[in-house]
C-alpha cells in the first residue's frame, strides 16, 4: 500500500502509531491513525471536512492532545513533558489556513520574533536571514509594512517565511490556500513547490489536486478519523482502490 519513500533514512521524521483522540464532548475525532513521514518527503493529506485531517497534523506539534497511541517527531517522543513539546515545536513549522500573522508587528518583526526569543540568536543576524527569506518568497519590498496592508496571498507567503526563519526540519501546512482568492492560490503553491524541490519535509492538508499530483510523494485519504487509502499520486488519482476514495474524488474533480 505504501509507496517507496524517496529518502529511506531512519529514523523517520514523523512516526504516528494508532493515534486516537476524543473531544471532551465525546466525539471520536481520530480512530487509530498511522502515518510515517520520511525525511525529505512531501505527504499530502486529503479528505472530506470533518475527517480529522487538520486535527491529525495539529497533534504533531501538540496543538491538539491525543489520548491513545504514540507520535515520534525527529526521534523525540511526544508526551506530556512540556520541555519536549517546546523542543518539538522549535523543529516543526506550521502554516495555517488563516495565516495568523501577528497584526501588531511589521512583516520583518513577524519573522524575527521567534528566532530572537526562542533560539536566542542576535537580531542583526536574524534580520539578514529574514530579508533573504522574504526575497525568496518574493515580497522583500513589503518587509516594513504591516500584515493588514498585504493581500491574502502575500500574507500567506510571509507566514511561510516566518516558519522558515526558525529553520524547522519539517513544515506542516493546514489548508494553506483554502481562504485565499483563486488568483492568489498559485503564488503560494509555487513557493511551496520550491520548498519541496529544496528537500524540505512537508505534510500538507489541502484540496489542491494539481499540487498533490505534481509535488506529493504520497497522498493519504482520511475519512471519519481513519486513513482510508495511502498511495502515490498517480495511483491515488487514476486508480483509487477504495470505494470511499472514488466517492471523494468524484466530488472534488
Amino acid at each position: 500500500m505504501t509507496a517507496e519513500p524517496k529518502v529511506a533514512k531512519s529514523p523517520a521524521m514523523i512516526e504516528a502509531r494508532g493515534v486516537e483522540k476524543w473531544y471532551p464532548n465525546g466525539f471520536h475525532a481520530l480512530r487509530g491513525v498511522d502515518l510515517t513521514v520520511q525525511r525529505g518527503e512531501v505527504v499530502v493529506i486529503m479528505g472530506p471536512s470533518g475527517s480529522g485531517k487538520s486535527t491529525f497534523i495539529r497533534t504533531f506539534n501538540a496543538l491538539e492532545e491525543f489520548q491513545k497511541g504514540s507520535i515520534t517527531v525527529d526521534g523525540i517522543a511526544l508526551n506530556d513533558d512540556l520541555r519536549k513539546i517546546d523542543a518539538i515545536r522549535r523543529e516543526v513549522g506550521m502554516v495555517f489556513q488563516q495565516f495568523n500573522l501577528f497584526p501588531h508587528l511589521s512583516v520583518l518583526d513577524n519573522l524575527t520574533l521567534a528566532p530572537v526569543l526562542v533560539r536566542k540568536r542576535s537580531k542583526g543576524e536574524v534580520l539578514n536571514q529574514a530579508m533573504a527569506l522574504l526575497e525568496r518568497v518574493g515580497i522583500a519590498e513589503q518587509a516594513h509594512k504591516f500584515p493588514g496592508q498585504l493581500s491574502g496571498g502575500q500574507q500567506q507567503r510571509v507566514a511561510i517565511a516566518r516558519s522558515l526563519c526558525m529553520e524547522p526540519r519539517i513544515l506542516l501546512f493546514d489548508e494553506p490556500t483554502s481562504s485565499l482568492d483563486p488568483e492568489m492560490v498559485r503564488e503560494v503553491l509555487e513557493v511551496m513547490q520550491g520548498l519541496a524541490a529544496d528537500g524540505m519535509t512537508m505534510v500538507v492538508v489541502t484540496h489542491e489536486v494539481g499540487f498533490a499530483r505534481q509535488v506529493a510523494d504520497r497522498v493519504v485519504l482520511m475519512a471519519d478519523g481513519q486513513v482510508v487509502e495511502e498511495a502515490t499520486p498517480e495511483r491515488f488519482f487514476d486508480h483509487p482502490q477504495h470505494e470511499r476514495s472514488r466517492q471523494f474524488l468524484s466530488q472534488i474533480l
Binding site: F96, P103, V118, F146
Partner: protein
C-alpha cells in the same frame, strides 16, 4: 477614514432643515439650548458670588498642606508640565505608521495651546490670586509650551531606545511626586492627613490607576487560566468585588483592615482607602481586559506557540499587546469612573475635593453658596476626565496597526 465633510451654509441647511419636521426640531432645540445657556451665563456672570471659590482656592487645591512646604508641590507641577510637554512633542515628532508628519503644530495642537494660554491668563486672575502666584502659572504654561516645541522640533533625533523608554518618565515621576508630596529623603514629612482637595483626589486616583492596571491584567489572565485554583480564585474575587457597592467596601476597609492586621501594620486611613479603590478598580479592569483577550483570535496564540514561544512569551509578545489595545477604551472608561468614585471618600470623612467642598459649605460665611462650589467641582472633574479621554483616543489611534482599508 474618509475626508471630513466640510460645514458650509448649504450643507448645514441640508443637515438641519431637510424636512419641515427636521426644521421644527432644530428650531425647538436651538431655542431651548439658547435659553438655558443664556440663563446659566447670566447667573454665572451677574448673580453668582464667586468669593467662596476665591477665598478657598488654596484649600480646594491642596487642603491643609503646610504653606512653607508648598514649594514642593509647585516643583511637582513644573515637572508634570515638562513631562506632559515632552510626551506631547515627541508623539507629534513621530509619524503614525501610515501617515507622514504634516506640521510641527497641527491645527488641533494650535487650538489646545491657545486654550491653555487663555486659561492660564484668565483663571489665576479670576481666582484673585496674588500677582506672584499668577506669574507662576504663566511660567508653568510657558514651560509646557516650550518643552512641547523643543520635543516636537528635535524629538525625531531621539534613538529608538530613548523613545521606548520615554513612557517610563511617568511612573518615575509618580515616585518622585510621592516623595515630594509626602516627604522623606531629606524632605520634611507631611502626613497624609494634611493632604486634601484636588491634591488628595489626584493622589488617590493615580495610585489606584497605576496599581489596578497590572492587577487587573493578572486577574483577567487568571480567569482564563487552565489551572482550576487560579481560575476559581480570580472568578470569586472579581464577582465578589463587582457585586458589592464601593461605599460598603470603603467602610469595610476602614473598619476591618484595622482589626485584621496586627497593630501598626494597618495603613493610614488615606492609604487604606487608596488600596480599596485599587482592589475595586482591578476587578472591573479584569473584565475589560478579559473582553480584549476574548477578541484576539485563537490562532494568534497557536501561531506563537507553534513557533516555539513559551506561554508567557506568547502572552507578552503576541496576545496581550493586541488584547490591551482592544480593551483600551473600556479601560480608560474605568479609569474615568474611578476618578469620579474618589468623591465617595468624602463619605468616610476624607477631605478630598468633595470633602473639602462640603467643609467649606458648612462654614457660616459661605452659606447658600453651594451652586457655585458644585459647578466649580463639576468643571474641575470634567477637565480631568476630558484629558484622560483625549489621551486615550490619541493613544488608540497610534496603536492601531495600519491596514489596507485605511
Amino acid at each position: 477614514m474618509g475626508p471630513k465633510p466640510r460645514l458650509t451654509p448649504a450643507s448645514l441647511r441640508k443637515e438641519l432643515f431637510a424636512t419641515p419636521l427636521d426644521g421644527l426640531v432644530t428650531v425647538l432645540l436651538v431655542t431651548g439650548l439658547a435659553a438655558a445657556g443664556s440663563r446659566l451665563l447670566h447667573w454665572a456672570l451677574a448673580q453668582a458670588d464667586w468669593a467662596v471659590i476665591q477665598a478657598n482656592s488654596t484649600l480646594f487645591a491642596v487642603g491643609r498642606y503646610p504653606i512653607e512646604q508648598q514649594w514642593r508641590l509647585w516643583l511637582l507641577v513644573a515637572l508634570l508640565a515638562a513631562a506632559a510637554g515632552l510626551s506631547w512633542g515627541v508623539l507629534r515628532s513621530r509619524p503614525l505608521p501610515d501617515r507622514p508628519i504634516t506640521a510641527l503644530w497641527p491645527g488641533n495642537d494650535r487650538l489646545a495651546t491657545g486654550i491653555l494660554v487663555l486659561l492660564a491668563s484668565w483663571a489665576p486672575a479670576a481666582l484673585g490670586l496674588t500677582l506672584s502666584i499668577q506669574s507662576r502659572w504663566w511660567a508653568l504654561t510657558g514651560l509646557l509650551v516650550l518643552v512641547r516645541w523643543l520635543a516636537g522640533r528635535y524629538g525625531s533625533r531621539l534613538g529608538k531606545t530613548a523613545t521606548l523608554a520615554l513612557p517610563l518618565v511617568w511612573p518615575l515621576l509618580y515616585l518622585v511626586g510621592m516623595v515630594l508630596i509626602g516627604g522623606g529623603l531629606g524632605l520634611v514629612t507631611v502626613g497624609a492627613n494634611e493632604w486634601g482637595g484636588l491634591l488628595l483626589t489626584l493622589v488617590e486616583a493615580s495610585f489606584a490607576i497605576l496599581l489596578s492596571a497590572p492587577l487587573g491584567v493578572l486577574l483577567a489572565l487568571g480567569r482564563r487560566s487552565s489551572l482550576p485554583l487560579l481560575r476559581w480564585g480570580s472568578i470569586v474575587y472579581i464577582e465578589f468585588i463587582r457585586g458589592a457597592p464601593l461605599i460598603t467596601l470603603l467602610f469595610l476597609g476602614q473598619n476591618i483592615l484595622g482589626f485584621l492586621l496586627p497593630g501598626g501594620m494597618a495603613p493610614d486611613r488615606i492609604w487604606r482607602a487608596a488600596w480599596i479603590l485599587t482592589f475595586f478598580s482591578a476587578a472591573y479592569l479584569a473584565e475589560a481586559v478579559r473582553s480584549g483577550l476574548a477578541a484576539v483570535p485563537r490562532g494568534q496564540l497557536e501561531a506563537a506557540r507553534s513557533l516555539g514561544l513559551s506561554l508567557p512569551q506568547a502572552l507578552a509578545q503576541v496576545v496581550l499587546p493586541q488584547a490591551l489595545r482592544i480593551a483600551l477604551p473600556a479601560t480608560v472608561g474605568q479609569f474615568i469612573s474611578l476618578l469620579q468614585d474618589t468623591t465617595l471618600l468624602s463619605l468616610i470623612g476624607l477631605l478630598d475635593l468633595l470633602g473639602t467642598a462640603r467643609s467649606v459649605m458648612a462654614n457660616p460665611l459661605f452659606l447658600g453658596k453651594s451652586s457655585e462650589v458644585y459647578l466649580t467641582l463639576a468643571v474641575l472633574f470634567w477637565c480631568c476626565c476630558a484629558a484622560l479621554g483625549l489621551g486615550s483616543r490619541a493613544l488608540e489611534r497610534r496603536l492601531n496597526p495600519p491596514s489596507l482599508g485605511r
